[in-house]
């Protein structure tokens, strides 16, 4: 039958079930890869980054988990066990070994007050890690909000907010950190004696003042980076669409703008960790860090300098560990940056 070309009649054979061959043609050959999966794949391929991640995890295990079941505590002073060399025992401990007891050796010896040095180093690196991680979170929250608000509203808001950032940026940070931590010492110590603020005493007033300093000064770099990203993103269609649908400014910033620069946020935050650890060890070395008897890698190194002629390992151990921590975070951060950068996609 000759079909009229203008006919609306449908062809019956178009509605037959598809053959196996046709079905095969529609099967997706490669699973579509999302942003996270893709970045993760690239990160796992990066050997340097994976090794640094492994080192970070090992150090974290030793600084957060091991001290809780280690036979010595960081402030426990053992009489007669002062200034022991690594792997040696005091007289009392030798007696106990002779009696058949098992005594954990002092892997790194003891300091001049008879405290086990290995556990002090572990607790010291816990302080460094905590400072690095907490400071990074503080910087992330403040910097991301500040930068995105400045960029989103633009105009006068942006100009004023970024001038403030410029001023903080030019102020030499270490000078202000020193100044602020001196000024905060007293008030925070007073605060810790009050019932509701007991946690300040537990964390230590100096540590809290370090966090406050980071919160006050260190977010500016993050704010600048986020601002430059948001300036581009806010012109995109989905922001206009969200606005048209009646989304508020807060919702747009949180749900649309910040989630779209998540890669930058993660990378910048990770790279912020080593620089915070750097600053903390610097302050502790100058004697402005955590209060005794709590050790920090900086203060351990600083104390060890006086006796380095006789007890060099007391200096070398914390010095190498802090360098290793900073190096691993640096390399891992670089790996993350490469993984999240779509321009490097292979």
């Amino acid at each position: 039958m000759v079909k009229n070309p203008l006919s609306f009649q449908l062809k019956a054979e178009d509605f037959l079930p598809a053959t196996e061959e046709e079905k095969q043609g529609l099967v997706v050959m490669r699973e579509s890869v999302g942003f996270w999966r893709d970045s993760l794949r690239r990160l796992v391929k990066n050997k340097v980054a994976m090794v640094s991640l492994f080192v970070i995890i090992v150090i974290m295990f030793f600084s957060f988990v091991v001290p809780s079941f280690y036979p010595y505590s960081y402030e426990q002073q053992q009489k007669g066990a002062e200034n022991l060399r690594p792997m040696t025992y005091s007289q009392a401990e030798l007696d106990r070994i002779a009696n058949g007891e098992k005594v954990t050796p002092h892997f790194l010896g003891t300091d001049k007050l008879g405290r086990d040095y290995a556990v002090r180093i572990m607790v010291g690196s816990r302080i460094s890690m905590t400072v690095g991680l907490v400071a990074a979170v503080i910087i992330l929250v403040i910097g991301a909000l500040y930068g995105s608000i400045a960029a989103f509203f633009g105009g006068w808001v942006d100009i004023i907010m970024m001038r403030i950032v410029d001023i903080i940026y030019t102020i030499p940070d270490v000078l202000l950190i020193v100044l602020i931590s001196i000024a905060l010492k007293g008030p925070l110590a007073g605060l810790s004696s009050q019932a509701a603020f007991g946690w300040v005493g537990i964390v230590g007033p100096n540590l809290v003042s370090i966090f406050i300093v980071f919160a006050l000064l260190y977010w500016v770099g993050m704010a600048r980076i986020v601002r430059s990203q948001v300036l581009v993103l806010r012109e995109s269609e989905y922001v206009t669409a969200a606005k048209a649908l009646g989304a508020g400014n807060g919702r747009i910033i949180r749900k649309h703008l910040l989630t779209n620069c998540i890669g930058t946020l993660i990378v910048t935050t990770t790279l912020q960790i080593p620089s915070s650890i750097f600053t903390e060890s610097y302050l502790s070395f100058l004697g402005l860090g955590v209060a005794a008897p709590l050790p920090s890698l900086g203060s351990l190194a600083s104390t060890a300098i006086n006796g380095m002629n006789t007890y060099p390992y007391l200096l070398i151990a914390p010095a190498l560990l802090i360098s290793l921590i900073i190096l691993s975070f640096n390399l891992f951060g670089d790996g993350l940056r490469d993984a999240f950068d779509p321009k490097l996609k292979k």
Binding site: R163, D166, I167, T170, I171, P172, V174, L175, L176, V178, L179, I180, I182, A183, G186, P187, G190, P274, F278, S281, Y282, F285, L286, G287, L288, G298, A301, S302, A304, I305, M308, N309, P312, L315, I316, A319, L320, I322, S323, I326, L327, N330, L331
Partner: protein, 305 residues
Amino acid sequence: MTKYICKRLFMAVLTVFVVATLTFFLMNAVPGGPYEAEKSISPQAKAALEAKFGLDKPLFEQYLTYLKNILHGDFGPSLKQRGRNVIDIILTKFPVSAKVGIISVMVSLLVGVPVGCIAAVNRGKISDSAIIVIATVGIAVPSFVVCSLSMYFFGVKLRWLPTVGLTTWKHYVMPVFSLSFYPTTYIVRLMRSSMLDVLGQDYMRTAKAKGVSRAVSLFKHALRNAVLPVVTYLGPMMAYTLTGSFIIEKVFTIPGLGGEFVSSITNRDYMMIMGTTIFLATLMVAINFLVDIVYKIIDPRINLK
């Protein structure tokens, strides 16, 4: 250009003003005030001292006098070193720090720039990889680690170099090495990546095509363009050198301003802390200001707002 300079100058002055204000109010927030540490002082003497330095007046009035005094270069007397003014101490100690600092900056530039270029030109070869590894590790080592370890190995173990003071050229080796270590590794990385960038540019190929020799193209075309990011790093590097001097001078017992600042922190010499902070902050802001203007002059493409 003039407009730009005026704008930057205004920002610089504003920054110094903010620092001075912050310093004043932070130091006033320290409980007990500056004379509290003097335990031996009698109430009458304390009142007399407070009257002498105007500490009995309202806070705002004190602030105004303080600003006026700063403008005259008067930071008040040192609380611990009797009979000496803060500004005198700063002026006698600062030249020592400046000497070490300037030598360190020169060393970082003279080592960092050529090494970074060598790495970039030999891209992918063993020398390049070795330089990258050293620079990557070096950038992670805090200055106190460098100075204490070098002091241990070269000063205490091998006894090659003196560890205390600053009298002969040998005394300068370790402090300068420790202070320039981090900036040098930073400049190497910066220089390498910017040189690689420049070497891939079209004008480098053009230069080669028109028969310019390798040396001329490297020194005249590539280096001039590649060195620009290093100029921007000058400001942060100066800041690092100044603050790094606190540690170096403490460890090597150098009679400079950094060591003085650290000991004034431990002694709670508030006047000294305030004076040094404002002095160093002004210095850094001034350096940043100069660097910005120099950058604008040598690279007219950059149109900073």
